[in-house]
């Protein structure tokens, strides 16, 4: 699946998107895999309360299922307007 990062999540991880093969079944499971990869991922995902997630471009939650999902995006709380 495609995993996208925005704002300081993108800066901390150092790239805007990447393709990831995962056997994780939930967003939380994917986050665990990413955290285990490298320090920059562990740093970006240190505090989930400071993060939001969208699945296929709809806001979702960390306990949501990844079944059928093609695009996951992680970002801080939005600051539009």
């Amino acid at each position: 699946m495609d995993v996208l990062y925005f704002a300081w999540v993108r800066e901390r991880i150092g790239l805007p998107r990447e393709r990831i093969e995962t056997s994780a079944t939930t967003v939380a499971g994917l986050v665990e895999e990413l955290r285990a990869r490298e320090d920059r991922y562990a740093a970006a995902f240190a505090d989930l309360s400071a993060l939001r997630v969208a699945l296929d471009q709809e806001l979702s939650s960390f306990d949501a299922s990844l079944q059928g999902v093609r695009e996951v995006a992680f970002f801080p709380p939005m600051t539009g307007g």
Binding site: F6, A7, Q57, A73, P77, M78, G80, G81
Partner: protein
């Protein structure tokens, strides 16, 4: 219903006038415009607005459609920019038209509250000291959603 996500600027006054003229059977027009203002500590050189291209227009359209369904509106307009903006530039605007001022006001406030916290934009302040700061979401903005 008009929703636009764009990098280029827009003419607030001209858009507000055109919206009012197009809805001149309605009685009540409310507009809101957001302008890049200086950082709290001063020294803002530019505001960079990042967004999530695949999601932004869809999110704005859903928010606007919800406002159209929930209040008695003749029309609603949302324009939101992204990219690098200078202090004093207009970031975004909303406009609502209704036969009743209460509906026009409430719908405009609803649009603003949701654009603030549920549309995928992130603001970064570029300061003349050379530092950059991602604007933090405010608890008060999240709390504002409880009203709806």
């Amino acid at each position: 219903m008009q929703v636009s996500v764009q990098e280029e600027g827009f003419e607030f006054g001209a858009r507000a006038e055109a919206f009012a003229q197009a809805n001149n059977a309605m009685g009540a027009i409310v507009t809101f415009t957001g302008i890049v203002r200086d950082a709290d500590q001063g020294g803002l050189v530019a505001m960079e607005i990042e967004h999530y291209p695949g999601m932004t227009l869809k999110a704005l359209t859903e928010i606007t459609q919800t406002a159209m369904d929930r209040w008695s509106l003749g029309d609603a307009l949302v324009i939101h920019r992204y990219g690098r903006l200078a202090p004093g530039e207009q970031i975004m605007m909303v406009a609502t038209a209704s036969r009743h001022r209460k509906d026009a006001f409430e719908a405009a406030e609803y649009l603003m509250d949701y654009l603030k916290s549920r549309a995928p934009f992130w603001k970064k302040e570029i300061l003349d000291s050379g530092t950059t700061d991602w604007v933090a979401a405010k608890d008060s903005d999240e709390d504002a959603l409880d009203r709806w």
